[in-house]
C-alpha cells in the first residue's frame, strides 16, 4: 500500500509500482487529447522545492501539476548556501504553512526527503536525493519499457555508465529487479560499487561483452564534474571505452531500445546518430514522465492521513 510520500522505489512494492504504471496509462490518454487538462486535483497546491539545479524534472513536475489542475509554485534555493539541518526543516515547514499539499523535493544529500516526510503532513515526492534515488525517473523508464516491449519480466536490460554516483541507476535497479528484469551494469570498475555483484545483477567492464543480445540499453549521463577525480582518465578515454556507438549498439538485439534520462552529452556517452535514430525512445521518456508524475500525485492525494 502506498504511503503519503514517494521516497524511493526501495520502499514500495511491486503492486504499488504496477498500480502507478496502470494509472499513468490513463493519464497518457489525457495528454493525447485536445484538452490536455483534467480537474482531478483542483484546489491542491504543489511546491517544487529544489536545492539543486534542475530544468527537466522541475518542469515535468510543474506541468504534471498544471495538467491535474493543481496550483504549483517553484521554490528554488541557492545551491551555494550550506543548508543546516534546522533551517532545512524550517524551510519545509514554511512551505507547508503556505498550504502545500505536495512538496516535490530535490536535495544533494541522500535521505533528506525521508527526514522531511516524517516532519510534514504534506506528501513528499523525492525528485532526487544525492546518490540515493530518483523514483519518478525509474517509474517513467519502466513505463516506457513496458509500452515498447509489452512487459518487463525476463528482459535483459543494460545500464551503462557511472553507476556509483547515479540515483537514476539505483532507482532503476530496484524497480526493474522487482518487475523481474535481468540487469547488467556496464562501466569502469571505479564507477561500479563492488556490492552490486552481491545483489544478483551482472557486472561488465566492457561494452562488447555487456551489450550482447540485450533488449534495452539505458545510458547514464557522465557527470563532467567527476572528471579529474580519478574515476576515469579523461572524457575522451571514457567515450572511447564506454560510449554508445552504432557498432556497439549492433551487438544488442535488433529491436533493442535506447534510453537516456537526459541531459545528454552527445558524442561522449551516446553518439548523436543513435540519440536521433529509430531505436531511441529518449523523447518518449520525457512525455511518459509527465503521465507518470500525474499518476503519482493522483495516487498520493488519495492516501488517508
Amino acid at each position: 500500500m502506498l504511503q503519503k510520500d514517494l521516497l524511493g522505489i526501495k520502499e514500495i512494492s511491486v503492486e504499488d509500482i504496477t498500480l502507478i504504471l496502470e494509472t499513468a496509462a490513463g493519464f497518457k490518454d489525457v495528454l493525447g487529447r485536445d484538452i490536455k487538462k483534467v480537474p482531478t486535483l483542483r484546489g491542491k497546491t504543489a511546491v517544487n522545492l529544489f536545492f539543486e539545479p534542475s530544468t527537466r524534472t522541475r518542469t515535468s513536475f510543474e506541468l504534471a501539476a498544471i495538467r491535474l489542475s493543481t496550483d504549483v509554485i517553484n521554490f528554488s534555493v541557492p545551491t551555494s548556501s550550506v543548508v543546516k539541518g534546522e533551517s532545512l526543516i524550517d524551510t519545509a515547514l514554511t512551505v507547508q504553512a503556505l498550504g502545500a499539499d505536495f512538496i516535490i523535493l530535490r536535495h544533494p544529500s541522500a535521505g533528506v526527503p525521508h527526514l522531511l516526510a516524517r516532519k510534514l503532513r504534506a506528501s513528499v515526492i523525492n525528485a532526487g536525493d544525492g546518490a540515493n534515488e530518483h523514483p519518478t525517473q525509474a517509474l517513467l523508464d519502466a513505463f516506457t519499457i513496458q509500452e515498447k516491449k509489452g512487459g518487463i519480466e525476463g528482459l535483459d536490460i543494460a545500464i551503462v555508465g557511472d553507476i556509483m554516483h547515479s540515483r537514476v541507476a539505483k532507482s532503476n535497479i530496484y524497480s526493474l529487479t522487482k518487475l523481474g528484469a535481468k540487469i547488467r551494469l556496464i562501466g569502469p570498475p571505479t564507477l561500479i560499487p563492488e556490492e552490486m555483484k552481491e545483489i544478483g545483477v551482472g557486472v561488465f567492464h566492457t561494452m562488447e561483452k555487456g551489450l550482447k543480445d540485450v533488449d534495452v540499453v539505458m545510458m547514464l549521463r557522465i557527470q563532467m564534474e567527476r572528471q579529474g577525480k580519478g574515476f576515469f582518465p579523461s572524457t575522451e578515454e571514457y567515450s572511447k571505452n564506454w560510449g554508445l556507438t552504432p557498432e556497439r549498439l549492433s551487438l544488442a538485439k535488433d529491436d533493442a531500445i535506447v534510453m537516456h534520462p537526459g541531459p545528454m552529452n552527445r558524442g561522449i556517452e551516446i553518439a548523436s546518430e543513435i540519440a536521433d535514430g529509430p531505436q531511441s525512445v529518449i523523447l518518449e521518456q520525457v512525455t511518459n514522465g509527465l503521465a507518470v508524475r500525474m499518476a503519482v500525485m493522483y495516487l498520493l492525494a488519495g492516501v488517508k492521513r
Binding site: G26, F27, D29, I35, V38, P39, T40, Y298, A301, G302
Partner: protein, 177 residues
Amino acid sequence: MPKELLNKKDIDRALTRMAHEIIEKNKGIERVCLVGIQRGGVHLAKRLASNIRGIEKREMPVGSLDIAFYRDDLSIRKEQALVRKTDVPFEVTDLKIILVDDVLFTGRSIRAAMDALMDLGRPATIQLAVLIDRGHRELPIKADFVGKNIPTSMSENVEVQLEEDGLEDRVILEKIV
C-alpha cells in the same frame, strides 16, 4: 439475504424496450452514439447497441468512459478510484451521445461523466440511459431511458451483476451492514 429485483429475462426485456425507446426518441439512430460509464455501463452500452443493431440493421458506435479524473469525492473516498480505460473512438462533437450506466443514484457519477465528455468535444445532445433508477438524487439530473425504477432506502445497496463479469445476470438489493 440479498433480494433479487430483476433476473436475466427481466434485464433482457428492459434493455429491449430501452433500445426501442432510444430509436423512437431520436427518430432513428442517425448521429447517435452510446457511451458506457466504466465499468457496468460499458457492458450495458454494448448490449443496447446489439439490440439496436437487431432492430435498425445498422452498426452503432460504442465508447467507454472512465470518470475517475472527474469525481468530486477524491478527498473523502477511502482510497483512490482505479483508473480504467477511456475509449471513445469517434469525434463526439455534434453527435447525440447516450450515456449508459447501470445504477442511477446520487447523480454525481453522471455529472462527472458529462464533464469528461465535454472535455472530448461538444456533443449536440447528451441523453442518459440507466438500467436501474434507485432515487436519492443529490443533483438536478434525470434519466431519459430507465430499465426499472426501484425505490430504495439509503441503508440499502443495489448491485447489477452481469455475465460479462463472469456472474449470472441479475440485479440484487442488499442491506448495508
